[in-house]
Amino acid sequence: MQTDNVQPPVTNLPEAGAVSHSTQQDNPARDFARAFFRHRSAVIGSVLVLIFIILAILAPVITPYDYTEPSADALAAPSAEHWFGTDDLGRDIFTRIVYGSRISLWVGFISIAGSIVVGSLLGLLAGYYGKWQDTLISRLFDIMLAFPSILLAIAIVAMLGPGLNNALIAIAIINIPTFGRLMRSRVLSVKVEDFVLAARAIGMKNSRILWHHILPNCWTPIMVQGTLSFATAVIEVAALGFLGLGAQPPDPEWGTMLSDARDYLQLAPWTMVFPGVAIMITVLGFNLLGDGLRDIFDPRMKQ
């Protein structure tokens, strides 16, 4: 009687009409930025890395001297004229360190990019196809990892001949298994996800499943590892340079600078201290950044 205005029960799809969340709150890029700026070591690391990138780009603008041209003013102590002093041939150490950042960043970037491409590809094949492909690739990685990496790099450079490019190739090769194994383990866990089964059920070819469904879901740990490996790559370039296998004089590579400075350690310690500090800060920067990224991407760290 009173209920003359009976509404039909809304059985059909009320919840689909209700928009779930506002888009602003659910923006992955914004979430990432927020987490990133809240993470202290990520911020410090990225600042250090940025400083070196800026130095590398602006090298000719910042430095007043030529980095190869010797001068009469050899082994001068740090002063207003030569901030970091000069080396045994009278070259400005600050200038050489700034130009050296170009070499370190370049070699680090190219070699790590190379090992990511090759390593990920091999890891993808091993993880996705399994069977003999997996056995072959995984054992290859095991063999490579059985050698101390710097020893392997030395062996590779010894075969190819000393030089910056060959050092770059050696560093790329020794880092392949790291990325390969990481990729393989990621692929193993992603390929059994329902959305990959769904892709197969829909009738997709393997190539499409690999590129569109598996790979995009494997990048995060690779990016983190890439940042951390960048730091080791910087050390490895310096180590090879120090041993005379990497950059050749007069290239202002930090490791070669250390090597040249050995004889003057007591007479002119600045020749050794500043390249060493440059290596340390760069490595520290990439490691902090890598650790930060790992924390941010780790779902267990999210509140």
């Binding site: 009409g17 779930s20 329902d194 959305f195 009738g203 997709m204």
Partner: protein, 323 residues
């Protein structure tokens, strides 16, 4: 003629063990399962966890390679198809998955998820595909503004709608729904079930509906098959099965369905023991260690899955003897 005919389907998974990873045994997940589904029909498959109902669905789809048996779908023998032929057939044979959170690629927009099946089967040009995506979203009760979002921005029920839309996109003949509502809230379950029934009418779909919830299956199915330990023990038209179950396992299963009436007298059949391990199933009838009506013959001979009259199939010596 039946749309899909499954004959003696068997799927075993090897167990590897030891230092060398040699095969030390096998799990029989699906054992000698046969049934057929008519066009436009919904066949429900029920059974408890681990009885092989999902494996049955996935093996029919050839997401798992079958161990033995045959499936004939729309005149094609699925297990003999080469990769490319199989890919083509999948246009007519789609699947809806249980977990709406895992079955959508988190890195793809809804529009991409729905468009992809059309792309891989070469259906329509870019403009037509876009139009299709819009229509699909509408058909499952969502709107086009959802197309540019990512799966994590939706609720479970909405995602399952997207999963259904994806399965619909190639206009398949048969959809295998693998527990499509068991991950959803009860209130959302009925919406999704009703949606599936509406779509069945609208698109003349045939369903194989896998679930462990007897009331859900009763709601949607025309015929119901009951599985136990990888075997189909009973298969009958829905009302027949729910009113007059023949197999003791089905009886026990049905007696466990709660009745929403506090005064209702109910005799609950409590089975003793656990489900035996599928890597070492019992001799004879798989159910005999727990069966209240067990006879000597049950321990030795495996009952035949046979028609006990009126399309009511049962694998039980109690009824095989009578028939």
């Amino acid at each position: 003629m039946a749309l899909i005919d499954v004959r003696n389907l068997k799927k075993t998974f090897p167990i590897h063990g030891g230092v060398l990873g040699r095969k030390v045994g096998e799990v029989v997940a699906v054992d000698d399962v046969s049934f057929s589904v008519e066009p436009g029909e919904t066949l429900g498959l029920v059974g408890e966890s681990g009885c092989g109902k999902s494996t049955t669905g996935r093996t029919i789809m050839r997401l798992y390679e079958p161990t033995a048996g045959e499936v004939e779908f729309a005149g094609k023998k699925l297990f003999q198809l080469k990769a490319e032929e199989l890919r083509q057939v999948r246009r007519d044979l789609q699947m809806v998955f249980q977990d709406p959170f895992a079955s959508l690629n988190p890195r793809q927009k809804i529009s991409t998820i729905l468009e992809e099946p059309l792309i891989v089967h070469g259906l329509g040009d870019a403009q037509e595909r876009k139009e299709q995506v819009r229509e699909l979203l509408h058909v499952v009760g969502m709107n086009e503004s959802h197309a540019s979002r990512y799966p994590h921005q939706f609720s479970g029920g909405q995602r399952q709608r997207i999963g259904i839309a994806r399965a619909l996109s190639t206009r398949p003949k048969l959809i295998i729904a693998d527990e499509p509502v068991s991950a959803l809230d009860v209130s959302i379950q009925s919406q999704v079930l009703n949606l599936m029934m509406d779509l069945q009418e609208q698109f003349e779909l045939t369903y194989i509906f896998i679930a462990h919830d007897l009331s859900v299956v009763k709601h949607i199915s025309d015929r119901v098959g009951v599985m136990y330990l990888g075997r189909l023990v009973e298969l009958a038209p829905r009302d027949e099965l729910y009113k007059k179950p023949l197999h003791p396992y089905t009886e026990a299963l049905l007696s466990a369905v709660p009745v929403p009436d506090p005064d209702a007298k109910k005799e609950r059949i409590i089975l003793s023991g656990d489900v035996p391990s599928p890597d070492n199933p019992p001799q004879g009838c798989a159910f005999h260690p727990r069966c209240p009506h067990v006879m000597d013959v049950c321990r030795e001979t495996r009952p035949i899955f046979d028609d006990a009259g009126g399309g009511h199939f049962v694998a039980c010596h109690l009824h095989n003897a009578k028939a």
